[in-house]
Symmetry: D3
Subunit: 287 residues, 6 copies
């Protein structure tokens, strides 16, 4: 399909009301899943983020890194024990996790954003003491799987006020300088709260919350916190969706305007969420 | 033709390199002709200007007002003498010209920009002593037809630094506080020079400079100053095109990066000029 | 009478305590009546305003424009219907009102202030969305006679912080970009409230509130709000004085320090009000 | 003579062009002589200085202190030797000079300015290393009579930018922290040069330079540097006038706009100099 | 004893936690006693103060001046009457007190700090209206012995924000511009409260509060306000220690973090207080 | 040896002149060798750096990471080819190099500085496009061994102005977003030049340049650029010392004040260099 220059101009202009509404707003994006492994999708996400910055928003990126961590661990012959589906993270594993997340995945995203015309800076939770963390479980059976104890957002403020896009690896620092591997969704939610973000967007590999997980026509567009318990009881929110929704709950009760679980497999899904009235995916709201 | 949300997102993203290039740049737009009288075109120009501001440019609008002046003069039964096609502007006429330009046309543009989501402020050459003027002809046969003696751009700096879009009526002020009616193209060029603008765009009712005025396929895309004399001698630059080109010459020799004579009858012509590689109309460059 | 240089110096020095008291204060001046039509008085008002700015105050001028509007309407043969003494303002009339106020009267005042050494900038209620307005009467019988719905004072803040004197034409903008003609006293009061002004001064063609309108020796120097109803019942506040006093009431209940109804026919009446202990005219206070 | 309020207002307004011309300008005032000993004159000088600050100038005061020093020395029974009319300043004398100048005279002026509504701060040449000094004569026969080696004006910049009026005692500091007594005229000239002042005003006890010292009608209003040698040769500039004129020469050759020797015995002489076209006293200019 | 370069480096590094804790903090130092009369101690105090500034604290110095005042009074043959051990300060005495404190002692400290590499500025209570004062006793039998009525700390804010160290002479100004001699401890406490200081340090000639004044091993390290009355009743806090402790009480109840009575006879006592865990002297706390 | 509190205070004060001289200065530190592998030395370097920041300098850290890279490569069974002693860096190796440098070594230093009381932020050459790089050798036989093409120092400016200590991994980014492994000494020199640093300090595992490499008493304290060729010819500068000296040459000819090759095996060697008159190691100067 050929779109004329003038039609393109029209489309730019159609974006104006959204640009206006989001001017100066902070949007935390949890970046992961297919949007991070598929080369073409990846590039589109970078473009979306840079565009957001240029039209006046403050995107803040938090990324995961599962597949690359697994691949490196297996190259090194490090075997992991799993408890309740969560990898037990011993000292050796943690070292690799941190290197892969902070030294490889993080910097690739930074380079990608810069190549798309933005100015990104990669940050781990150690930089500027951004993420103070502790072990997730009291008896530390999980090793260095951590939880956020406290966010010190000053470094992000400095970075965004000076025109940079922060890209954050979900590594926390304990009181003895030990590193913790924290779930990226949780980090994104905690940072959204600490930064008083207007929006938290979780990029996933599903279309959103589905009444029937096999039927994408059963998408729940808006999920109210008041309905949460009922959805859980009925088993509609279950499996991998449960922690995602919990993150959203944490964010909106912490003051974040709106939170979205969207389909990162769809090209430019972030822009679609922001620049169309209908949005995409499932929006979780504090009602 | 139906364009999908995703195609729209793609188009937004295509604009990124242009947005980046023009970030923080100053663009003076001479607004007049059909783009000012046709309701639909008018609205599109407003949208283009607001979009420019939101993506980081500093548009500065200078407007004419011919038809509305004529209409008011005829309603008042004021007859004008013409010398060489220029209206002799006596005291009575000048009063009407100033009222129509500064009180009606200017404020309509301001209201239009504001309605499109921008923050505009209307300025005449008297505000903040912006335009110091004197009579165009030594013997003042033309009455209050003026020329720019000096631009005091401080007020425009204040206005654009604070997020506003200045909309300027081409009224100059003489040393005795008398008003002068100045050609809007000339004012636009002088302000572009004084503001060290990166671009001057003249909206006209022709596609640009044509080798054969009857054949729009003969558009001259780039006009070098070095070719100017030859084009004039050969009669290609003539009639109403001559003063337009002269304005562009004044601007580029005064340090303005690029100047463009474009077709205001084309919807979103300003965006087309800025957001496409080919641009539209005729670009006059200092070569 | 010849006043020696040294006596002049003494007089400058006498002004010191007043200069000190008003340093940094905002003073809204409703400018109209004889002070606007008499050439000599006009110039003195300009000088007063510029002096105020130079000694550290922030004067904000709101002007009317009755006589010039009438004159232009009659030149154009536009007849107006009147209801309760207020001109019904149809579309045609409104167009003329706006042109005369914003394009002529406003710019003359701007030019006058600049010629007196100040830096003024003319603003209508459309600029920067300063005055959001709607019809004064519910059934719109009065046409485009408007009332202030909301003041967006940001543009005035920008202007005064940058050393300019704002000169405001009392045109409001409706939600459909339509213009409204609003009583200048009301605009002055609303702006005084929105700007948290320390003083509102209404220039009129009477000495102030008189117990006996025919005897200027019966001036009421201070009018307390608590006395208002009584004065109205007794018919002392009546006719044109009633809306003036109502404006003052609105201002002082809205937080404006002091409001004054003074005689604009007296040369330098503004300075007299500010730089003498007794002041002149009638001060309305919230007691 | 009774001057009406309106005449007073006229006089304020007459000052406008001068206020405008001197807005933001720096004026160094050497304060001494009768204007410092006569109680009434003293108060008028304070008022003049405060007024200057309020109308936007930056007055900088440098004071002497002869009579009070003499009185204290005599109370203490300290006898001074004189060489060429200059007091030899031994350690004991210097101690007294510094105490009287910095602890008494300086603070009295500060208190006087504050009482007149200004905000003054007293500074000696030691504060912020303002005046680096050394002995005036190579063989130090004069003791701690000093000359200015270098002015560090940063502290004055800080002070005036924050709204204060600096009052400077002419004490210099040597490389061993020893104090020097420096002629206040010289200090005033050096500070005027260092501060890039627009004006230096020396308050004296004579009407200015007189062709015939006994006839005040022979005042030289303007003295050009080019005429200096001739005036000195002819003995017109002689005695106490010679060092004053030399100071002015140093200042104007150092870039100070204008320098004035005026009669401090005349009430409000500073204002008369600044706010009248003729000025008073003798102006020394670089021509 | 020879300390190697590396040991010195270790010592610098040991100071880090203290430097960090006090970064940006305000510390008011009452400077007097032996630390002011002994040449070597004096220099060490200057160095301590400059070091504090360089490592990020904001030291504010308030000084006394007893011995120098006495010496000057006796040189002038002025005899003082004493009531309850306080010198009755008549006009003549006050003049000398002010000169010695503001003109001599103050400037010597300023010069000393500057010579040690700092940037000091001397201030008396008159400068910038810093200390508004009145007579200490209702019937003014004590003459110009004053008490602080009000501190206007703006000038100190200006001075410390611009990198200077303020050195304050304890002279207050009455409503008639008359000077008052105020106890320096009281001034220090009042300024500490007005500046929201984190610490007030009183340099004295004793080791602190001693249970047995003859035995320096009986030092009370921490004195709680709750214990005060008891200590006074038991006669442990008595004599010159009583007003010192009262000053500390005033400061800590006014919001000053910690107050210290330390031994100025010990070299670098201020640094010892700040840079060691134990501190020295007696700390008075609000418990 | 026991050093008393007072002796410690003396030592702090001795540092004052150095603190003063380096206030606000930028010092680039190449951190590597034993100082990075030895736990105790490591901690001392962190402390030195934090102390520098607190006393007003701007330390900028560039680190290497040889041993940890080797260890990870060997764990992964990646074998490297060497050409002229330089590791050929293929894609696989580069991936590991980047992860180890940016994700492990860099973050450990950051955490160490933060634990010592500073605020550090880790940056690779990709962040904010800091280091634009290309292959070191024209024919790319060395693979991704790179050289600095251009430093974009803006991100470091942002970081240091906001109170952070930048810690830089020597990874460069090519035009295709590919990563390059660059010698840390070269990066340090290039950044020192781009940041207009006052000092470049290279931490090595030798005492400096020795006339006889086996005799540490033959240290060359000052090496002039003019002597360089001669030293090289004579074989005194050879082996690993040659590139170090070349880095210093590049820095001082690029405008860096002073460059130092010091012994990182000596505890607190950085402080010793800065806070003692003799300094340590070899200083290379542009003479």
């Amino acid at each position: 399909m050929i779109i004329s220059a003038m039609e393109k101009a029209e489309i730019l202009v159609e974006a104006l009301p959204y640009i206006k509404d989001f001017y100066g707003k902070r949007v935390v994006i949890k970046y992961g899943g297919a949007a991070m492994t598929d080369c073409e999708l990846k590039q589109k996400v970078m473009q979306d983020i840079v565009l957001m910055k240029y039209v006046g928003m403050h995107p803040i990126v938090v990324h995961g890194g599962g597949p690359e961590i697994n691949s490196m661990l297996s190259r090194l012959g490090i075997k992991s024990e799993f408890i309740n589906g969560l990898r037990v993270t011993d000292q050796d594993t943690m070292e690799i996790v941190e290197m892969v997340l902070g030294g490889k995945v993080n910097k690739e995203i930074v380079a990608g954003i810069n190549a798309s015309g933005g100015k990104a800076i990669g940050i781990s939770g150690k930089d500027g003491n951004l993420i103070e963390a502790g072990p997730l479980d009291a008896d530390s059976k999980m090793g260095f799987v951590g939880e956020v104890l406290r966010i010190n957002p000053q470094i992000i403020e400095t970075v965004i006020e000076n025109g940079y896009i922060p890209v954050i690896a979900p590594i926390g620092m304990g009181s003895e300088q030990e590193s913790y591997n924290i779930n990226a969704d949780l980090v994104a939610a905690a940072i959204a709260v600490a930064m008083k973000a207007d929006k938290l967007v979780l990029l996933t590999d599903v279309p959103g919350l589905l009444m029937d997980p096999k039927d994408s026509d059963t998408l729940v567009s808006v999920l109210r916190l008041s309905e949460l318990d009922d959805y859980i009881k009925r088993g509609i929110i279950a499996g991998g969706m449960l922690p995602k929704v919990k993150c959203c709950e944490e964010a909106v009760t912490g003051g974040v305007g709106r939170t979205h679980i969207i389909d990162g497999r769809e090209p430019h899904s972030i822009l679609l969420e922001i620049f169309t009235d209908e949005g995409i995916g499932t929006m979780v709201v504090n009602e």
